[in-house]
Amino acid sequence: MRRRYRIVVVVVFMVCAAAGIAGLSALGTASEGPLSSALGWLGVVTGTIEHRVRDRIEGPGRRARLAWAAPYRDDAERLRHPDVVLLGAYDGGIPRTLDGVLTLETRIGAPLPLIQVYSAWGDKPDQQFPLRLVTAISGLGSIPLVTWEPWLSDFESARHPNLPLPGARDSHGLAAIARGDYDVYVDAWAAEARRFARPMLVRFGHEMNDPYRYPWGPQNNTKEEYIAAWRHIVDRFRRAGARNVLWVWSPHVAYEYWDLYYPGDDYVDWVATGVLNFGPIAQWSRWWTVSEIFGPKYPRLAAFGKPVMIAEFGSLAVGGDRAAWYRDALAQLPTRYPAVRALVFFQVRDDQTVTYQKVDWTFIADSGVVQAVRDALGRWAPR
């Protein structure tokens, strides 16, 4: 009896301990402990509640003004096949503030239902699922578009003993993703995305065919590895139940054979590319219009049968008439490129990602451009 009693006590203790540990681990995300996760969630909830209270006091906010976009932001199926052109922007004030986007839409007189943010892979708190940002974007009535960049060397070796040293990770890094080496991170992100629950667009590994830009390019990986990684990630998200995530495949169409990187109709919801006019500031560039940059590639992009997105749209000021550039581009968009269903203004004051000097993509201070954009959009953009 005595022995049986002891065994019962031990078993009960083990069961309770296992339940407690399972509960604690379920509270946290894989990369955050339960406490930080709960506190982060508390912060986000505080913000959401405060926003609602503010709407009561100050009257309805932007979300109410964007009510016409509700079908797309609340229903993933509608966002998969939109019947309007959704405008959007990325602004250099992100992640600190979204005010830049709001100012821009006031100036150009057209609402921006898409707001783009950039999120890198890694261990740091700001490299986790950007819950606060996407919740804030959703609170403003917009749809989050997250450009998700697999910077594999940002994972700390000490926390990931199974990974090669940071310097060796980029070589065939996409194959490692496809093998599941980064599933801890991918699954945590997917679980958070599922918890967010509202439709969101994720642009993973953009410009994967450009050998000079990002470590996930063809200098380190084959296109088969890229496609395998993409499919693996989408599968992980589907397994996690994150069906609210729509996948935006975004090659750099200036390089040949970009269409060979297409992961497949079942794995892609949108196809996208950037349309950025650098003008004559770089040796490889000159003043190119949208027809020159995008026109020749459009038929192939549209042929995938998916809605097309111009995910980074803008022109520098030097070397031509910027107002005319925007006017012409926007005027011909609905008629010449009817498959384009999203256009995201790229508004960064000091961009250094491509060139060695800082370049300014913003046009908000240039009233000529603002007027041109305003006029062009006035003819066709939803109010």
Binding site: G33, L35, G47, T97, L102
Partner: protein, 516 residues
């Protein structure tokens, strides 16, 4: 200390050390530095606070108490108690009567400069030797030194006149002088008036941990200190350092000099006398100012001079004691941080509030656990156990006093030695509570401004993204406001002190037995 307890403390301290390392690793990330100068200041303040917690663990790890020794017969023992003008006669009546009841044969001396014949009359009525010591510089300690020259007992108990010794006072004490190297034996300090007001309860609570596990840990490190109220000295020891130390922290100064001269000290954690804590907030503030100013002499004068003669554990202990009141410098900085952010958007450190909480929580949990665990070594656990929230509230309220003490010490400014009031004095509410009231007004104005700005003047695009930071800071500013309520209540109570004296209800014959 039993082996089991030692293992538990060591394990907790080990977990705590890991938690502190983890916190440090997180705290000192380069990305956290927002304003370099302010970050340095905040780090100093924060890590001072953490270091106090760690020093507490270091101390608790050494907790020890001496094996009991019976007092051998035939020792020649004196009790010195001092009276100064203005001290209430009725209190001496109790103390002198109680001294006569102390069982071990001894001589009681009243060191008197009141020029009041009634004191001589009372001394003689209770069989004490009356020594009139007029115009002796050095206040209480000066009179003790003068009396040492006039007497010849080998052991001297220096007893504050508010302390009522129990008849068995010397029984657990004198045996330890068998060891020729022991210079003084200190017993616990306890009170008989801590239930008479909020201030008294808080002031007493602040001392419980020190007279229990605190002094026992110091004893384990070979550095338990003398407390002027009820310490028994060996005459030869005092003679070796040129007499009792003089100054606001005369007891600490005496202790460090004796340790430096090679004498050992013994801490006996028993309650064999009870005295008074300040009952009104004004008297408490004056006592704390005196201590804060005085204790810095250990850090500024004694420790640099004597450090080479102390063992390293004694050095660490005295350094910990000597820097205790820096709390008064760091607290205002912590108080300022949320207001700086809420009014000017300036943040010393770019830390997420949620992340800070999760990084600091393990240290706080271990610290709290250790505090509660150490309560088993309280001298009178039955009456002393608890969360000691009154003591904490009073300590937080004391930061202006500690700051003043620090500034006076740095400026080497003297403040007069005045014995702490024995009976509550009436205080004006506004005069005592204005620092708390100012803080509450500033807090109210800040919250009003935050609410207004968040409702009407914050752009919609920043609202949700800044919610965590702003409301986290408001929460951070709320904690000291809650703590201020305790001090406000104490100040309110000080308007009407109790009319009866604390010793009215004391019966000298039962005070020890009733508590035992």
């Amino acid at each position: 200390m039993r082996v089991r307890d030692r293992v538990i403390i060591a394990a907790l301290a080990g977990v705590g050390a890991a938690a502190v390392l983890r916190l440090a690793d997180w705290w000192f990330r380069p990305a956290h530095v927002a304003q370099p100068a302010l970050f340095v200041l905040l780090s100093l303040a924060f890590w001072y606070a953490v270091s106090r917690i760690v020093l507490g663990w270091v101390n608790y790890a050494a907790i020890a108490s001496p094996a009991p020794r019976t007092a051998p017969p035939g020792l020649r023992v004196a009790i010195f108690t001092t009276s100064t003008p203005g001290e209430p006669l009725a209190m001496f009546e109790r103390t002198l009567a109680a001294c006569r009841c102390v069982r071990y044969p001894h001589t009681t001396y009243l060191l008197d400069d009141t020029r009041d014949p009634r004191f001589r009359e009372r001394a003689e009525r209770y069989g004490a030797v009356w020594l009139e010591l007029l115009d002796v510089p050095g206040a209480k300690a000066g009179k003790i030194n003068r009396a040492l020259a006039l007497t010849d007992e080998e052991l001297i108990l220096v007893l504050d006149p508010d302390h009522i010794p129990f008849p068995e006072f010397f029984d657990p004490v004198l045996g330890h002088f068998d060891d020729e190297r022991v210079g003084f034996v200190q017993v616990s300090q306890a009170y008989y008036n801590q239930r008479r007001s909020f201030t008294a309860a808080g002031a007493a609570e602040q001392t419980y941990a020190f007279y229990g596990p605190g002094q026992m840990g110091l004893y384990g490190h070979g550095a338990c200190v003398a407390i002027g109220a009820n310490c028994t000295f060996r005459r030869a020891a005092l003679a070796s350092i040129g007499g009792h130390g003089i100054g606001l922290a005369e007891d600490l100064v005496t202790a460090i000099r004796l340790h430096a001269a090679g004498w050992r000290s013994v801490y006996v954690p028993v309650v064999v006398s009870r005295g008074l804590v300040p009952e009104d907030l004004g008297s408490f503030y004056r006592q704390q100012l005196k201590w804060a100013r005085g204790v810095y002499e250990v850090a500024f004068t004694e420790l640099p001079r004597l450090a080479t003669k102390l063992a390293w554990r004694q050095r660490l202990s005295y350094l910990a004691i000597g820097t205790y009141y820096l709390f008064g410098v760091t607290t205002p900085f912590f108080l300022l941080v949320p207001y700086l952010y809420l009014w000017t958007d300036v943040q010393p450190a770019a830390m997420s509030f949620a992340e800070f909480l999760s990084a600091a929580a393990p240290v706080a949990v271990v610290g709290g656990g250790m505090y509660l665990l150490a309560q088993r070594w309280l001298c009178d656990p039955r009456s002393e156990r608890g969360l000691h929230w009154r003591g904490l509230a009073l300590k937080l309220a004391c930061w202006p006093v500690f700051l003043a003490g620090t500034v006076l010490a740095v400026l080497h400014a003297e403040i007069p030695y005045i014995p702490t009031a024995k009976q509550a004095v009436r205080g004006r509410f506004l005069r005592l509570a204005w620092p708390q009231l100012v803080m509450i007004v500033v807090f109210g104005a800040t919250v009003a401004r935050v609410v207004y700005r968040r409702a009407h003047a914050t752009s919609e695009g920043s609202l949700e993204l800044s919610a965590e930071a702003v409301w986290g800071m408001v929460a951070f500013a709320t904690l000291p406001v809650i703590a201020a309520v305790g001090a406000l209540y104490a100040a309110w109570q000080a308007r009407r002190p109790r009319a009866d004296a604390p010793w009215d209800a004391v019966d000298v014959r039962t005070i020890g037995g009733a508590e035992a």
